[in-house]
Symmetry: C2
Amino acid sequence: MTPTTTLSVPRLTEMVTGILADAGLSDLQARTVAEVIVAGERDACKSHGIYRIEGCLRTLRAGKVQGKAEPVLTDDGSAVIRVDARGAFSPAAFAIGAPVLADRAWELGIAALAINSCTHFSALWPEIEVLTDQGLAALAMCPSYATVAPAGGSRPLLGTNPLAFGWPRPGKPPYVFDFATSVAARGEIELHRRSGSPLPEGWAIDGDGAPTTDPASALQGAMLTFGGHKGSAISTMIELLAGAMIGDLTSPEALDFLGSTDLLPHHGELIIALSPEKFSAGRPGAAFDRAERLFEAIVGQGARLPSQRRFTARARSLAEGVDLTADEMAGLERLAQSVRT
Amino acid sequence: MTPTTTLSVPRLTEMVTGILADAGLSDLQARTVAEVIVAGERDACKSHGIYRIEGCLRTLRAGKVQGKAEPVLTDDGSAVIRVDARGAFSPAAFAIGAPVLADRAWELGIAALAINSCTHFSALWPEIEVLTDQGLAALAMCPSYATVAPAGGSRPLLGTNPLAFGWPRPGKPPYVFDFATSVAARGEIELHRRSGSPLPEGWAIDGDGAPTTDPASALQGAMLTFGGHKGSAISTMIELLAGAMIGDLTSPEALDFLGSTDLLPHHGELIIALSPEKFSAGRPGAAFDRAERLFEAIVGQGARLPSQRRFTARARSLAEGVDLTADEMAGLERLAQSVRT
């Protein structure tokens, strides 16, 4: 049995922040990126946890993220708040924009945060939860790299384009979903390739645009969107709203810009916050009560709410700490050494 | 060969408006509902065309729509505009709210229109196109009747919950999609039942929650969402944003309210308008040019943009008129007679 080390969430945050700061990130970037990484570990989302540190450092060494850049907020008092990340990691830009976004959503009912010119890092749900924690509903989306074919197409064009949404539940963890609009993540196809197992049908096409279940052919071809032409339309919408509309790169442009999917992508992100209290003001029935009845009916027929597994893991991690294997601890130590020299 | 009658779009609009006005709709309701119905015929969407008049009249006769109600707009200068339809058909409420929504989106960058207490009628794309015609991007969504099971569930709870989006294309018809978040429309299952053909797998479950391809069992059971748990999450989001958040009925509440899916549903609708010019202001590259490059790349690899079939039919209808069969003309005449007496 592999011996494990149990670290408290604050202790792990401190370690990861230290590694990122030593590697050359500003205090704000180191802290906000570390918080997202530790949120992944805390919620048992290993694919968004400490395993991601290496990709951050690789992107930094390649000069494709500006570790010392300070994101700049522009606020003209309208419902659109802009943060120019100036090449910094996205969580730093979000940290600067989120308080203004929340205030504006409370004031106007709906508001949007456009993050530009960031190196986009990691899942959208940590950002969604910052807003649901303040009683706001929120939508977030961004492009990615061109690795997904549009429905009826034959070549990579769209990104895996995640879409995330959250609804605040008073006294409970929020209703949150966050998923790629591709059928599967690129990492899952890579895992199939390594294990030599075929892909499920409908995941990918080969370099000639023909359906394939061979992982290597899929990696040479393109992934497909979830839900056929409907998912493809939603993915295209994300390119338009969180790329073209906010004056930032679409997925094909993001791939051209870096020339590789091995580094973290450079593009923008769109976050929309909505105030249920403002939207439902003066209407009969309480918005939050009505939502709870819907959730009860979903759970009551045996279906699950998204993210429940994460929230269960989180409760355990906050109470008992995060368990890391000896290999994981050694990896952290190696990373810490590598950035100290 | 069935003899056909060709009517100009204005002439058909006049006829349908006359039928609805004679049936007891206010001038505004008659005109706006007729415009949506004629838009369906014009765009060769027969399922949203004159065939729908009968459902409107049935709902009116059942006392479930207030034909003379005048929707009331509330505008506090924020980014949320509200129209209380007071039981009128939704197109009348949209007609009153849309100009204020567009102005506010131009001013603030993003704004929302909450339509409450309407009898919801027909497709969302006509509303989306009113906004794209003014250079705005737009999202629209609404609940429906509880006929769809959530992923992992066993009983009807969610509606077919349509989601529509549009992006303005200068000098061209817009990029528009509008689809149910159920795999199929209820009408399609009914058509399979009538023709005695089995349903494709994945469309529905029976009354015990087990997968079925039998249309009759499906109508006793529940439809499924598109895209598995991802489509189910999006459908749930629509219940939350366009039901609970705006202080209006969710799909199970809408079904309880009417007790039948034979009449048009009573609930609300949410429309969000966004100004690409405001969102992209000061950024390098033009938002609309960037979007056009994306569309060219989609079409360039043999994929289609949504709604192109509609736009082709529209161009023909506007130039040459709308063809109605002798049966359709006789049906219109019967309806006209029935409301005159």
